[in-house]
């Protein structure tokens, strides 16, 4: 059997045109997918049953026991941290927020380690953006700044930008110009019309210089800015102004490098400035397939996209204080629940060390680095393969990922709901 128009739950592109071959209830083929999609849909390894750690040994158990143990850990915590959420369905994210509200914990999603700085910038200056189809149909200038779509989002260029069909472009590929800005050459920079190679940490200065040039203040700009020649900057500024529709995409090259969110702020303000000359938009290259969904769900429920502290019963938001990395390295939490992510692999060592000192609950289909620290791991159905659920594409378009094969696992939503119910019961008993 072949299922068509399947949505890929790997990266923020949420490509929805995959064809999946299913034989005897198992996935045997993936068409239209990139290498990452293939790995995801054809992946075999997974945790089959919930596990609980007892002393030095780990033993398999039933859902009920594991859920009970998780509830036990959480119900008495003084400052539990709930982290992850980018790899699960929106419905589970909502349950997670309710659980955190109930327990007075801190909830953060993985955007604090990817596009959190972009959110901080947006909160300062806004975000002139658009859906990806708008770019595909109109844009004659594409800029990728601090990202390498061919590796991070392998089909971004073919579905939405450089190689995509466009309503208002006769021969989209030839009519579109591509600019790549990065500190290193990448697969993506190899196909660019213009590659701007910046010295590491120099993005902010280059963005400032471009803003000044676009505003007609080029005379004060020195001959070279962070390793980029003034003549190249002028050329690029002209390309931007002359475009009918320019689309700037930026990645972690801006959010993770020096100056963090100020880089994004500067890029947004450059976009604002260019909007006075032509149509220009800016968009973040969101990584995980539903990290943007986590931001959306958290926002409508709590008012903030990530890093929300409910300790006082009132949501408090202050990235840099209420973000997972700080809470872990400052040892501020006394229990940790990780949902669909792997902080042990993706956080600095000092953050991981605290995980060894506190109880850790993990809800994830796969064993990963966090599993080394886990006291309870509960495997769940994989959303987009074994379970349906809502996901938000990197541009905010909500889609419903589909269940395409049956599995005996509970969904994230079910597991979190059951933990929630268990804690409610326990609280009622007191």
């Amino acid at each position: 059997m072949i299922k068509k128009n399947v949505i890929c739950s790997f990266c923020g592109c949420l490509c929805d045109d995959l064809s999946i071959t299913i034989e005897d209830g198992k996935i045997t083929g993936v068409d239209n997918g990139c290498a990452l999609a293939n790995a995801k849909f054809l992946g075999k390894e997974r945790l089959l049953k919930p596990v609980i750690r007892e002393g030095d040994s780990i033993k398999e158990t039933e859902y009920n026991t594991a859920i009970e143990k998780a509830a036990d850990i959480l119900k008495d915590a003084e400052r539990p941290l709930f982290f992850g959420w980018s790899g699960t369905q929106g419905e589970a994210q909502a349950k997670g927020v309710h659980l955190c509200m109930l327990l007075g914990g801190v909830i953060d999603n993985t955007s604090s380690l990817c596009h959190g700085p972009s959110i901080l910038a947006i909160q300062e200056v806004g975000h002139p953006g658009c859906t990806l189809g708008q770019v595909k149909n109109r844009a004659d200038l594409i800029i990728y700044w601090g990202c390498n779509p061919l590796e991070g989002h392998p089909r971004h260029m073919s579905r939405y930008t450089t190689y995509a069909d466009g309503f208002f472009l006769k021969n989209a590929f030839r009519e579109r110009k591509l600019i790549v800005v990065d500190v290193r050459k990448t697969m993506s920079s190899d196909v660019a019309d213009e590659f701007i190679q910046i010295e590491p940490g120099g993005d902010y200065a280059v963005l400032s210089a471009l803003r000044a040039i676009v505003r007609g203040e080029e005379k004060i700009i020195p001959e070279s800015v962070s390793g980029v020649s003034k003549s190249q900057l002028k050329r690029v500024a002209d390309m931007c102004k002359e475009a009918r529709f320019g689309a700037l995409f930026f990645g972690l090259g801006l959010t993770m490098s020096k100056n963090k969110y100020k880089n994004i702020r500067n890029a947004v303000e450059l976009t604002d400035e260019l909007s006075r000359h032509t149509k220009f938009t800016i968009s973040a290259m969101r990584g995980h397939w539903n990290v943007y969904g986590a931001n959306e769900v958290f926002t409508w429920m709590t008012g903030y996209p990530y890093a929300i502290d409910f300790a006082r019963g009132i949501p408090f938001y202050n990235p840099g204080e209420t973000t997972a990395a700080e809470i872990l390295y400052r040892k501020e939490c006394d229990a940790l629940m990780v949902v669909s992510s792997d902080p042990a692999a993706h956080m600095p060592k000092k953050c991981v060390e605290h995980m060894a000192d506190i109880p850790v609950i993990q809800i994830d289909p796969h064993k990963n680095c966090t599993s080394f620290f886990t006291d309870v791991q509960i495997p769940v159905a994989i959303t987009g393969i074994e379970a349906s659920g809502t996901a938000y594409r990197m541009d905010g378009v909500p889609l419903r990922t589909k269940k395409i094969i049956d599995a005996d696992f509970l969904t994230d939503t079910e597991v979190i709901s059951r933990i929630y119910e268990r804690i409610l019961e326990a609280k009622a008993d007191v």
Partner: protein, 567 residues
């Protein structure tokens, strides 16, 4: 079966022509009934003002752009934080509050039904997800068609039936309620960073004009026999001199429906500006109201501006960019492929600012100069003119000329030369307020037949009891008591259940989503149209199969209004 008896209520129910009578209201199993048994729960209204649950016919509370307003505004969030209560989640936010804050605050004001003013079809799931959390109000969504390529192409072909077929298919696919048109053609032009001047300017590539889009959509709307009329946000919002564009749009509106208006024009305050630039900016509310008084086929809402901080958000992308350049504060924009756009910026309406003072006056003038209150709804285009929590103040302004005079004395001193407000001495009564805050809305939205906006037998048991006693109060003098009374109901009852008592809310009010599904023959079903399907697959960034909103996003109690169409 649950039963509830509200005794001793001072009832105003305009749709049933009840203009203030002490009576009992019986609710049986969610609906208003003739009588209930002795075992019914009893609420003693103690002679207080009792109205059908409030209906907001134009507000922005759910969906992509609202949520982006929240996302970009942590400073607004901390302006309205509240702790969790036994049956209430914690809340945040003032002008763009969280879903829970919205639903609780609307409940406290006595509102049980709200219409989200703008939903981009491509992002409809998002609106429905938030509707799900808006647990104490029944909700419906205006669906945006202002820049819909298939509509514009059909208009260009002068193919009315195709326009209707596209609208019908889309509404059913995204579970929308009505046709919303925001700056028709302007949002498509904004795709190139441009705008349209007025209704006769041609739109790039499609070669049609906003006037044609409006005209075809109005006729298609009637062809589909939709409960609500076309819901129009005119071109040129917020520009000095735009009243001419508004007047011409009104002038062109035919009278096609004897049950309700043919065109609903929203936040008309923003479209009633005279002058040529901000320097000679003035009110033209008199001209607009004059036209409205001669055109029963049009209904409007005020779009009242109130002073203070708020956030503006609209599908009108180019307008928001203009505002951004004026205020130089943060600016967000979100164009939606093949359909529409949107923009968001925070604003501060200041009493000291002449333009803001004139805007404030215009909204009130529109309401006071419109002879028939059924043609003018009370709304702020929440949160664009002001957050909806300001409604009680607006009610008081309409009921008390003394309050208006006192406020007028506090605004920019030059305002008097540019507006008509000081010369208006009309003071509205409770009946007119009841019309402007629920009855007219329900009628305009076409939801009286399904039991909304009134207290007749068989209607939903949606009731608001305000701590206001008609005999004890002179609204003209005691306007502060009016504000207080309309700010917090004693009881807000939805479908026969108390959802808010003195602002203490119920966790779950069994909310419903109301949507429409026009019955369309296979011949006109766009799913079978090869041209439509081909273009869809080629130019949208999602496949047609993944576009329609699934049943999972509807709660079980949803109300689907199926319409008989001419297709």
């Amino acid at each position: 079966m649950s039963e509830l008896l509200i005794k001793n209520a001072y009832v105003i129910d305009p749709i049933n022509d009840i203009k203030g009578e002490i009576m009992d209201i019986a609710i049986k199993d969610r609906m208003i009934a003739d009588s209930v048994s002795d075992s019914a729960e009893v609420i003693d209204a103690k002679g207080c003002l009792t109205l059908p649950g409030g209906v907001d016919s134009h507000t922005h509370i759910c969906g992509t752009k609202v949520n982006f307003g929240r996302y970009m505004s942590p400073e607004d969030m901390r302006a309205g934080r509240g702790r969790a209560q036994p049956h209430m989640y914690p809340v945040s936010g003032y002008s763009v509050p969280t879903v829970y804050a919205n639903t609780y605050r609307y409940s406290a004001l006595g509102y049980t039904t709200v219409l989200e003013g703008a939903m981009a079809p491509l992002e409809a799931r998002h609106t429905h997800e938030e509707f799900f959390c808006t647990s104490l109000q029944d909700t419906m969504a205006n669906t945006l068609f202002d820049g819909n390529w298939s509509v514009m192409e059909a208009v260009s072909d002068k193919d009315l039936k195709r326009v209707a077929a596209v609208v019908g298919w889309t509404l059913a696919a995204v579970k929308g309620f009505a046709v919303k048109v925001t700056n028709p053609g302007g949002t498509e032009m904004w795709g190139w960073g441009k705008d349209v001047g007025c209704i006769h300017q041609k739109i790039d590539h499609f070669g049609i004009t906003p006037a044609e889009i409006i005209e075809y959509l109005i006729r298609a709307n009637e062809l589909l026999n939709l409960p609500h009329s076309v819901h129009l946000h005119c071109n040129n919002l917020g520009k000095p001199g735009n009243y001419k564009c508004t007047l011409e749009t009104m002038q062109r509106t035919p009278n096609l429906n004897d049950k309700r208006q043919t065109l609903y024009m929203t936040h008309v305050q923003f479209h009633s500006y005279g002058g040529t630039k901000w320097g000679d900016f003035c009110s033209k509310a008199d001209d607009i109201a004059w036209m409205l008084n001669r055109k029963p086929q049009i209904a409007i809402d005020m779009g009242q501006v109130m002073f203070g901080k708020t956030t503006t958000m609209t599908a009108d992308g180019p307008m928001e960019f203009n505002l951004y350049r004026l205020y130089n504060n943060k600016w967000s924009n979100h164009d939606v492929e093949l359909e529409t756009g949107s923009g968001i910026i925070p604003v501060f309406y200041s009493r000291k600012n002449l333009v803001n003072s004139v805007m404030w006056s215009i909204g009130l003038e529109l309401a006071l100069m419109t002879k028939n209150p059924w043609q003018c709804m009370l709304a702020t285009d929440n949160p664009n003119g002001a957050p909806f929590v300001k409604y009680p103040e607006i009610i008081a302004l309409l009921m008390s000329s003394r309050y208006r005079d006192e406020e007028f004395a506090k605004i920019h001193p030059d305002t008097g030369k540019r507006v008509h407000l000081p010369s208006l001495d009309r003071e509205m009564d409770f009946y007119e307020i009841a019309v402007m805050t629920r009855a007219a809305q329900a009628k305009a939205l076409g939801i009286t037949d399904i039991g909304k906006g009134h207290l007749g037998e068989g209607a939903y048991g949606d009731v608001a009891i305000y701590p206001i006693k008609n005999n004890d109060i002179d609204p003209s003098r005691d306007y502060s008591k009016i504000i207080e009374g309309f700010s917090l109901t004693d009881y807000t009852i939805k479908s026969g259940r108390v959802i808010s008592r003195h602002g203490n809310c119920l966790l779950n009010g069994n909310n419903r989503t109301i949507w429409v599904k026009p019955k369309i023959s296979e011949e006109y079903n766009m799913s079978n149209d090869p041209e439509f399907v081909k273009k869809f697959e080629r130019y949208y960034s999602v496949s047609m199969e993944n576009y329609p909103v699934e049943e999972e996003y509807m709660n079980k109690r949803n109300i689907c209004i199926e319409t008989e169409t001419g297709l």
